[in-house]
């Protein structure tokens, strides 16, 4: 299999060999003992600045975050990807210390929400020790939660509530999270959690007293991949659409005898592992040797029943091939399933695009941009009610449907009013289908299309919206008007393009 090219934001540095020569022995400590981790935790102060989604040429207001990082073998600092997203400056400081030193991102995988940082300041790590890593998380009992408060570590005994499969913050992966009930409020800033003196996970969010902990199993897999000495392969997802198969009638209609089992495949996403391998109306009976029940669960040796979609993250990584068994056209078919990396930027409407400034084009005062989750979220926490319904429908119905020839949705987000574009000032948030007869699926395509007017005019065809089907602009005065509008509205550059999404080869097919 060809190693997939990852997007530019996935900064890859192999960590292989970095641990050589370091003492690995750590004393075992019981839960509640602080000495096992207090020299394995540092505080982070992160200055971050995202982009103004309405004026995509401008940056938004700077923010400051206080987070935690855990010392891991290398030595490196481990934190969540969210903590360092859009960072303009990252500083680390030691427990009880008064000096902050700059830290740099070595590797960030937003898909699994983990990041590794390095610190170049001499002697920074001298009095720090990598935390001892557990191999898996406990499914019950007491654990030790910590948080960073006034440059001190605050610790508290918490209780494992349950192991639950959830999607990652980017939405591209599913894996078990450990849900922990804790007395420490306001968590979710990459606080480490320990059990019996060993690191068992990072808190990536907290709702009231229930902390969502990214488990050490996933973190170990991430660190192993990072140390692999090769380009970081990433976690794989199936990219499947499926439904439960609890209905004996449906099972019988597919000529499978016996009780219902397996899940019914309804589709595969371009770029996902199942693309081109599994088909609609396949019944997926087993994956990686695990039998899948009619509700979509398999029996995990430690965690019990888990959703089958977590199999690809359980010790696996992109680039491996696992076995699958499907019931297809009345027969049992064995398949090899090459695992491909989860890659949210490969979606037609990426949910979030960390680090990447939004591509845009200001053309005759029309502000075009590529549609993503960041833009929809700019309507606020209540965006599901407030964002324009036509954009939301595209997001809810089509976001995974990137395909060859339809890589992104470009929207006319607003119009910068000028006499040149009179008649169009009320247009906003409608998808652009064509410009001058050329299909538009990226800002780069839009920029190119404006170089080829139809005679004396530019013709922009909009997605049907009940308001206006097409925008006609004067091509002769287009450049002058664009320049004037750019100056008037203080737009530093009329265009920002992005690297095209990765290529995934042929469409999945039926």
């Amino acid at each position: 299999m060809t190693v997939r090219r990852l997007a530019a934001f996935l900064v890859v540095f192999a960590l292989g060999g970095a641990t050589a020569g370091r003492a690995m022995a750590e004393p075992a400590h019981r839960a509640g003992g602080r000495q096992s981790f207090e020299n394995g935790i540092v505080g982070l102060t992160v200055s971050a600045q995202g982009w103004d989604q309405d004026r995509p040429w401008a940056k938004g207001a700077p923010q400051a975050r206080m987070a935690l990082a855990t010392v891991v073998e290398g030595p490196y600092l481990l934190t969540s990807a969210q903590m360092v997203s859009d960072a303009t400056l990252i500083e680390a400081e030691k427990l009880g210390g008064s000096v902050r030193v700059p830290a740099r991102v070595v590797l960030v995988d937003p898909e699994v929400d983990l990041a590794i940082l390095g610190v170049d300041a001499p002697k920074f790590f001298d009095d720090l020790k990598p935390v001892p890593m557990a191999s898996s998380v406990p499914t019950e009992g007491a654990v030790q939660s910590v948080r960073w408060r006034l440059r001190q570590i605050e610790a508290s005994t918490s209780r494992v509530s349950r192991v639950e499969v959830q999607v990652t913050s980017l939405g591209g992966l599913e894996h078990p999270f450990l849900l922990v009930t804790t007395d420490l409020r306001g968590g979710g800033w990459a606080e480490p959690v320990f059990a019996e003196g060993k690191f068992i996970g990072l808190t990536v969010s907290q709702d009231d007293q229930v902390a969502r902990v990214l488990p050490v199993d996933i973190i170990n897999n991430f660190l192993d991949m990072a140390r692999g000495g090769k380009p970081y392969p990433g976690f794989a997802n199936l990219g499947l659409r499926w439904q439960i198969n609890e209905d004996p009638v449906l099972t019988a209609s597919l000529r499978l005898s016996g009780d219902p089992r397996g899940v019914l495949i309804t589709g595969a996403n371009w770029g996902g592992s199942a693309c081109g391998v599994m088909r609609p109306r396949d019944l997926l009976l087993s994956l990686d040797g695990h039998e899948i029940d009619a509700s979509g669960y398999y029996r995990h040796p430690r965690y019990g029943l888990l959703r089958f979609t977590t199999i690809t993250t359980d010790g696996h990584r992109a680039g491996e091939t696992i076995k699958a068994e499907v019931w297809r056209d009345g027969k049992n078919v064995k398949l090899d399933l090459p695992l491909k990396a989860a890659h949210t930027p490969g979606d037609l409407i990426p949910d979030r695009v960390p680090e990447q400034p939004p591509p845009y084009l200001v053309a005759g005062g029309l502000v075009l941009r590529e549609l993503d989750g960041n833009y929809l979220r700019s309507w606020g926490d209540d965006w599901r009610r407030k964002a324009p319904i036509r954009l939301q429908l595209r997001y809810w119905l089509d976001s995974k449907d990137q395909e060859p020839g339809a890589r992104r949705i470009v929207v006319l987000s607003s119009v910068l009013p000028h006499a040149y574009n009179i008649g169009y000032h009320g247009l906003s948030d409608v998808a652009v289908l064509e410009i001058n007869g050329r299909p538009i699926d990226s800002i780069a395509a839009a920029e190119e299309a404006f170089k080829h007017p139809e005679g004396d005019f530019h013709r922009i065809v909009l997605e049907p919206n009940g308001q206006m089907a097409q925008v006609i602009l004067d091509a002769k005065t287009f450049d002058a008007a664009t320049a004037e509008i750019q100056e008037s509205y203080r737009v530093p550059a009329p265009v920002r393009t992005a690297a095209p999404p990765p290529e995934f080869g042929a469409a999945c097919g039926g």
């Binding site: 439904q243 019988a252 209609s253 495949i265 309507w379 319904i389 005019f457 308001q467």
Partner: protein
């Protein structure tokens, strides 16, 4: 349990709150939701989008009412004769239940106003007398209830004619005559029985604005409305707005967005309703069923081939089944309607005010001809458009005086897609309903000319039974195919199921790849038992 309503005085004490809420719901202007805006059948969807956090609703949507009437305004004329002509109407109503479509809702009591017109009839709002099981009239100063019935309902213009059961009941009551559109800044007097009171009330206000409004009763139709700063409250609905001794409007709705503001239905809309009703049947409004763009941009006009002295709008989309099918083409520029030039923003000059050109279409009755001047492929021509209603636009309007259509098979409840069905998921169905259904309702008809001629069918819910309990999808699912046949109406679904002789029924749903299967024999056997167990009298109202 509801207490019987045996005297007007008890209405307020026993039912005042319910009554008020009911009518508040009836008179609030529908929010500018995407659905009505996107209706291709509507004359012209408004250009504005729903208020968002980024773009708050324009506070200046309506000017503040004038503080004082101008000196030249007519003096108020509180004449005893008007009061006699104004009648209080009590409606005990019951609606179909779109979530349990074989059933009806509980009985609601509501109160409104009507007034006497020619022919022994009362004119009132449709929403005052909709879904009536019993209508009672109280004449001015008369405590005796008189039974009546709605003889004509125009739900799209929120007007109705009511006839008392007792012949000659209105014989000695002065008939109110219709006037004309009141000028801006003049005074009007509104009569009615607001808040369920049994004494007539009158309020005076200035005509502060005349413009098109969404009529909240249907939730989708737009007609001209008179805005006044007179307080029009629940119970005022259906009352006359009077100026110079004549009716110039029928009070019909307020808005939560503006205080002390009431709206009236102008005489032009009333006359259209009365003329339509003359043959004993109400047909409603004709519909070009097109979408068009303004041509305010000079480049757009040049590209359309227009001369400098021409103005108009560009046809973007023509729905099959509307008046324009086969007569207008995408790219045509509409220059004038019935001889009135259309401006580049789509407006025409009427009564000294600018209104959307669609109102010129609305002035016609179904079956009459509309004259259009258009520019097509560089050629200017006059065409005549025989006006028809579009059969498919009713899916956008609230339904009254009808029972839901449905089909139940194997405990699966199917209904046509329409706004009533969608509102079973909540009033905010645009965000709360299944996204495929929202897409089908709002956006598909904007790109598929035949979409409104089809009737999408929805698997609404399931009446649980062993025969259906294991199917994966059973709530708010669009049904696209049944047993291999495309489903474009409830009738087609029934045929596809009842004509199937195979061992299984296979229903394909809106989400690509999604389907459910029923064992035909088991489903046939279970169906009557399920109906009996759930108290469903009939398996269908097709």
């Amino acid at each position: 349990m509801r207490a019987p309503l045996d005297s007007p005085a008890r209405l307020l004490t026993s039912f005042g709150r319910a009554l008020l809420l009911a009518l508040v719901a009836g008179v609030a202007i529908a929010p500018a939701a995407a659905a009505p805006q996107a209706t291709p059948g509507a004359p012209r969807p408004p250009a504005s989008k729903p208020p968002t956090a980024k773009q708050p609703a324009a506070k200046s949507a309506a000017p503040k009412p004038a503080a004082k009437p101008p000196a030249a305004a007519p003096e108020p004329m509180l004449d005893e004769g008007f009061e006699k002509s104004v009648v209080r109407i009590i409606n005990y109503s019951q609606r179909g239940d779109w979530f349990s479509p074989w059933d009806v809702t509980g009985v609601r009591a509501s109160s409104g106003t009507g007034f006497v017109i020619d022919g022994g009839l009362l004119l009132t709002n449709a929403h005052v007398v909709s879904d009536a099981r019993l209508l009672l009239l109280y004449l001015h100063g008369d405590p005796t209830p008189h039974k009546a019935r709605a003889v004509m309902l125009g739900h799209d213009c929120d007007l109705a004619l009511v006839r008392p059961d007792e012949p000659g009941l209105l014989r000695n009551i002065p008939v109110l005559e219709l006037g004309r559109l009141p000028p801006l800044r003049t005074m009007v007097e509104t009569y009615g029985y607001p808040a369920g009171g049994d004494q007539i009330s009158s309020t005076r206000g200035v005509v502060s604005r005349i413009e098109t409004q969404v009529y909240a009763h249907s939730g989708v139709d737009r007609h001209v409305a008179i805005q006044t700063d007179a307080a029009i409250n629940p119970g005022n609905s259906g009352g006359p707005m009077i100026q110079d001794g004549k009716v110039v409007g029928v009070a019909f709705q307020g808005t939560d967005a503006l205080e002390n503001t009431g709206f009236g239905i102008p005489v032009e809309v009333i006359q259209h309703f009365l003329t339509d009703a003359e043959d004993g049947k109400y047909d409603g409004y004709p519909d070009l069923a097109i979408l068009e763009s303004n041509l305010e941009n000079p480049a757009a006009r040049r590209r359309a081939g227009m001369r400098d002295d021409e103005s108009g709008v560009r046809v973007d989309f023509v729905n099959d089944g509307g008046s324009a099918e086969g007569l207008l083409k995408v790219g045509d520029v509409l220059l004038a309607v019935d001889g009135s030039p259309i401006a580049n923003d789509g407006s025409v000059l009427m009564e000294g005010l600018r209104f959307d050109y669609g109102l010129m279409v609305d002035r016609h009755q179904i079956g009459s001809d509309l004259r259009l001047r258009l520019l097509r492929d560089g050629e200017r021509k006059e065409i005549t458009v025989p006006l028809v209603a579009h059969p498919g636009t009713s899916r956008y309007a609230s339904q009254y005086d009808v029972m839901p259509r449905y089909f139940i098979y194997a405990g699966l409840v199917f209904e046509p897609l329409n706004v009533e069905m969608l509102e079973t998921t909540g009033r905010d169905w645009v965000v709360s309903a299944d996204k495929r259904l929202v897409q089908e309702q709002i956006f598909r008809p904007l790109s598929d000319p035949k979409a409104l001629l089809r009737e999408p069918v929805v698997l609404l819910r399931r009446l649980d039974d062993p025969v259906n309990i294991n199917i994966a999808w059973y709530r708010n699912q669009l049904v696209t195919k049944a047993n291999g046949k495309d489903i474009d109406s409830l009738g087609e679904l029934i045929d596809a199921i009842e004509s199937n002789k195979a061992a299984f029924h296979v229903l394909e749903l809106g989400e690509p790849g999604r389907f459910i299967v029923l064992d035909r024999k088991g489903a046939d056997e279970a169906s009557p038992k399920i109906l009996e167990r759930y108290g469903v009298e009939k398996d269908r109202n097709p």
